[in-house]
Symmetry: C2
Subunit: 270 residues, 2 copies
């Protein structure tokens, strides 16, 4: 495919809890967004795709209208599908504007125009606009979104699912997942002070035990929290990729990750 | 293609001079947008795609950054490309919200995520999200946009070009082009009081003479005004389609067109 002839981009995913206040309706963490934008500008990555989650923009609408259950028929849910997508587009515009403001040629792309799904999994992905944007030296900025599903009517494609699929398709050297904790722990660190950060996980073995440890993700999340994240990333890592889960709320971490410097976190390898 | 098995939609295109004040920066004609939304709700079309132009949202940005000339290199123009797309997404959100508010399940799709171009012409178009939206009973709302161009870097795909291509691909029974005049005249009606409305044009013959009459389109328009409109629509009409250019600023016209009633205007036929 001619359109894929671009330098494989690093995929940086910023969780919804990093760029928004997850428990407040449509409230962006503007200080974090601005800081991350400056860190990206500082690191000047050669080729980058940025993916962000929904947080307080996507999840409340999706929950209200039960988008996870698919289309049940009826005007109200269909309008809810529309409103969820509008809210996500608003968050995306905020991200793109913040990046443009510090001199990063960020180009926002609406995920639900790029992607359709089949029973909750991405079944088609229009890569041409993204590879075109990369060829120009732009930074595509995309996001978890409510998308058309051939079987269920619509579904939610999480930022994690999307970033893992993109990292695989573009043969990315690194999928960096910025979250609001330091990485994967042996147990929930907010409940158990004995919980230890896991520095390295081989996804071939050992993932099952880790998944049991993160079974109960802290906050309500329509896309399933840390367990979901691991299961999505697994596919990319199994194809030979390298993923790092790190704390994007700690100043300097995004810049360090993009510069290839060491950052505390959980490395997922094959 | 399975995804195209939907009832062929009417394609209604609303010009940038209908939904915005073309000479003011990012100023929507909210009264017109609300009225048109109510007329669509009244007409209850079975299957509809709405396309809108850029007007005062897209054109000023595109002109400032000379997007028509393609990518010349440099951060400033690339950020201008991004800003133009953000402005168009803002107008699209306004349109979708106005439609949702009166009970139309409008679903906005970003054109530059659906479409890429080659030397200014649409070369790829991701129809899956649109046909999926139609199958759900939704009304896709798309727009003229600045898009990735494989050769020039980026280009502008006008709402006219997009609506003509969509009408052809979806085998639409009607492409209705709502503008701010009654149709095509023998000369510019604002300059020449003798100018007469042309009721019917056979695009096979006679188009050349008509094109000479509309050569000098009134207002500055990066997408080329009425002549451009005719040339774009010609392709769809030549494939057997029927196009009507009508005045969408006159109350009741949009509802009448969607109900299949007669409306003053210019009918383009093969």
């Amino acid at each position: 495919m001619k359109s894929l002839k671009v330098k494989p981009p690093v995929v940086l995913k910023l969780g919804g809890s990093v760029v928004t206040f997850k428990d407040r309706l449509e409230t962006p963490r503007l200080d974090v967004i601005r800081r991350v934008a400056l860190e990206i500008a500082e690191a000047k990555p050669e080729s980058l795709i940025l993916v962000h989650g929904g947080g307080g923009f996507g999840h409340p609408h999706a929950l209200t209208h039960r988008l996870m259950e698919g289309f049940k028929g009826g005007l109200s849910q269909l309008v809810g599908f529309s409103e969820t997508r509008l809210a996500m587009a608003r968050l995306n515009s905020l991200m793109v504007e913040a990046l443009n403001r510090v001199g990063i040629p960020a180009l926002g792309f609406q995920t639900s125009a790029l992607v359709t799904a089949r029973e909750g999994r991405i079944s088609s992905l229009n890569l041409k606009p993204l590879s075109g944007a990369l060829r120009l030296g732009g930074v595509p900025v995309i996001y978890g979104d409510a998308v058309i599903d051939e079987v269920q009517g619509f579904t939610i494609v999480s930022g994690d699912m999307l970033s893992s699929v993109l990292a695989r398709r573009f043969r990315s050297p690194l999928l960096a997942l910025g979250v609001d904790v330091d990485g994967i722990y042996t147990d929930d660190p907010k409940l158990n002070p004995e919980a230890k950060l896991i520095r390295r996980i081989k996804v071939g073995r050992g993932l099952k035990g880790v998944l049991e440890g993160v079974e109960g993700s802290r906050s309500l999340d329509v896309t399933g929290g840390m367990k979901h994240k691991l299961l999505e990333v697994k596919r990319y890592v199994a194809s030979g990729g390298k993923a790092l889960i790190f704390n994007a709320l700690k100043a300097g971490n995004v810049a360090r990750v993009l510069k290839g410097l060491e950052v505390e976190g959980t490395l997922l390898e094959n």
